[in-house]
Symmetry: C2
């Protein structure tokens, strides 16, 4: 009997909106996102809130409830907001996903109901995984509240939690139903969290958009703490989100079935450094170091000019990023040591699968992929960054 070749194409469409004060009763964005799409009025909505937000926004759960009440013809909260601790560490504890599944089951959410998650990237990842696996996918509305989640992970198609000591070991590809980014939340971020998101913007500018990198260079002082110019940050977030979305839509491989993942520039060491520092480094802080490392390697490999290499490091330093931590070279000469930075190369290859593919830089705005790296050159790059960090102005 002849074989049957099955070809399917699955379309996904979602809007990424930018707003301020999403839960102000007069802000109709959330209402309008849900109203036309719901087969029932009001629609069932389960809110999930990043506990880290409550320090500066203690009334947030009540504001969400008041919003739903003011729009009760469209929104029905099936439960009080579920609070989940923010930060990568929450992704290590399987109890949170289990709990969300339990609440989804108890409240009778279905595939036409909504999980509305408000918070930083880790909480979005965790709630997104729970929503994607319940009933094979409940609609997910993300309200990212950090620079990093608004310009990067929060607009993308992935979710995940950590397991067996591996970051995002469990996860799926699942486009959100909508993304509602509220810039007002950015004002209450700590300096570290404010800065963290800038790293992903630097990353995508370096591999894809020279003009965007010029913008970042020109606005480095305005963007960095203490100035924290919100208007400049809004432009950064918007352009970065746009480049990220454009990559997903046009790469030809939105669910990453191939071996190439250009948006992970700087990430092989970043992931490992997050783990080596017990997640005391923020993801963005680790990415900044990873970018510095891969740019330095690119320069040592003769790909990137000395002038551009210097410019990149200076911009990152002007933003306030540290570009070296001692965990980088603690076990650098012991390739089999579990805390050796190079273990990150194998973990990176393994997560993506297939052949190792690392993005390097041949110019600002132009990435290039390689499949082999020279570890002694990487060691040299680490030492260069260490030396630079020892200079008086970085002490």
């Amino acid at each position: 009997m002849s074989s049957i070749r099955q070809h399917i194409s699955v379309p996904f469409t979602y809007d990424v909106h930018f707003t301020e004060h999403l839960f102000s009763e007069r802000n109709e964005l959330l209402r309008k996102t849900i109203a036309p799409s719901s087969s029932r009025k009001p629609a069932n909505v389960l809110p999930v809130v990043d506990k880290g937000l409550l320090t500066h926004h203690p009334g947030l759960p009540e504001r969400i409830a008041a919003y739903a009440e003011a729009h009760e013809d469209v929104i029905w909260l099936v439960a009080d907001p579920v609070e989940v601790p923010g930060g990568e560490a929450a992704k290590n504890d399987p109890a949170f996903v289990d709990h969300l599944h339990e609440v989804i089951s108890e409240t009778g959410l279905d595939r036409h109901s909504y999980v509305l998650v408000v918070g930083g990237g880790a909480v979005l990842d965790l709630a997104g995984y729970a929503a994607a696996t319940a009933h094979r996918g409940i609609r997910l509305i993300r309200a990212p509240t950090t620079t990093l989640s608004q310009n990067d992970s929060g607009v993308g198609v992935k979710n995940g939690v950590n397991a067996f000591g591996t970051k995002n070991f469990l996860g799926t590809f699942a486009p959100p139903y909508a993304v509602l980014s509220d810039f007002a939340f950015l004002d209450t971020l700590s300096d570290r969290d404010w800065r963290s998101g800038i790293a992903e913007a630097i990353k995508v500018a370096l591999i894809k958009d020279e003009a965007f990198f010029a913008f970042l260079t020109d606005h480095a002082d305005a963007l960095a703490p203490p100035r924290r110019d919100r208007e400049a940050m809004e432009q950064l977030v918007y352009r970065c989100a746009q480049l990220h979305l454009d990559h997903i839509a046009t790469s030809g491989d939105p669910f990453e079935m191939g071996m190439s993942r250009p948006l992970d520039f700087g990430h092989w060491s970043a992931h490992k450094l997050e783990q080596l520092t017990d997640y005391t480094l923020r993801h963005g802080e680790a990415v900044a170091i990873g970018i510095a490392l891969d740019c330095t390697y690119s320069h040592l490999a003769g790909l990137l000019s000395h002038a551009e290499w210097g410019q990149i490091l200076e911009v990152m330093e002007a933003m306030g990023f540290r570009l070296y931590v001692p965990e980088m070279d603690a076990h650098l000469s012991q390739p089999d040591h579990p805390r050796c930075l190079f273990q990150g190369l194998e973990a990176f290859r393994e997560h993506l699968g297939g052949e190792l593919t690392i993005m390097l830089l041949e110019a600002i705005g132009r990435g290039v992929e390689v499949h082999d790296v020279d570890r002694s050159r990487y060691r040299q790059a680490v030492y260069l960054l260490r030396e630079r960090s020892d200079m008086p102005e970085y002490a």
Copy 2:
């Protein structure tokens, strides 16, 4: 700032092959499935085997190992075959998914590695869920071994396990990498399992393909035990798989984001009856009852002619299906009782989400969707089936 509309289209392609003696060393199908696609030679493969197969095929794990050894240039088994109990009950125990995740982690499988699962629908569902959620999706090669999995779930795009008392509460949409159906496994099925798969063929014939239903009518005796004509069964499996695949590819909604799910004809009561009988009814046996019930309802509602209704029930009876079980009317007049059959209507609506959508029949080969049902008419349909089962020839 203006909103960004993201549109992505995710393409999936996979082949469904039919063969005999998949693990005979001279059969090159598995080798050829893996060889061209692997970025590494040999490719890492984790075999998962349905323990239920071992009664009749005690040497199966060794045969798989021998096959891999004979094709060691292409296939590297990362571990001995993991054995998982067959049948729906295994999907109730989260330990199996956890164990598979653990093995996947320990053996270092990546997104370009393979989980090769050999077994019936429940084991395919369970291993499929584990594979789909590890590293956001490891390649899954399904080798379905039952009539039901070869012609229905095994060729589709879903996986799942049960949780919180709900069938397939956890799961994802994840097209397989390939499907390799080995007809030789069908010979060792029990009569009940052999027959079970016929129910899904009847279902898809009734809603989509009058000519296929004529084939089933003509071959009812040949197909049913004790004759179990393998050639007729192969034709049944092939045509049913083809119709199933065609529906997924052309429905416009392969990941079921809308409210319509025609392939679930007869399934609202079937799912509930599986639960009410503690899964002692096979899925196919429950589907046969569900089809009989919805056909009877369709007839009582004036949609389906008396002659066609009678023909359908007779064909199913000729196949050896029971069309009534006492669990159907044990609590039929107590709509709030958890063991009332009608609880299946709400569970069905909830799983799919949105408005209730039930497929009925207006003629053999022609389904029609409705959004409202008359429960007193359904009660009448149950009583009709009960009476019919009380007649001497069914006692």
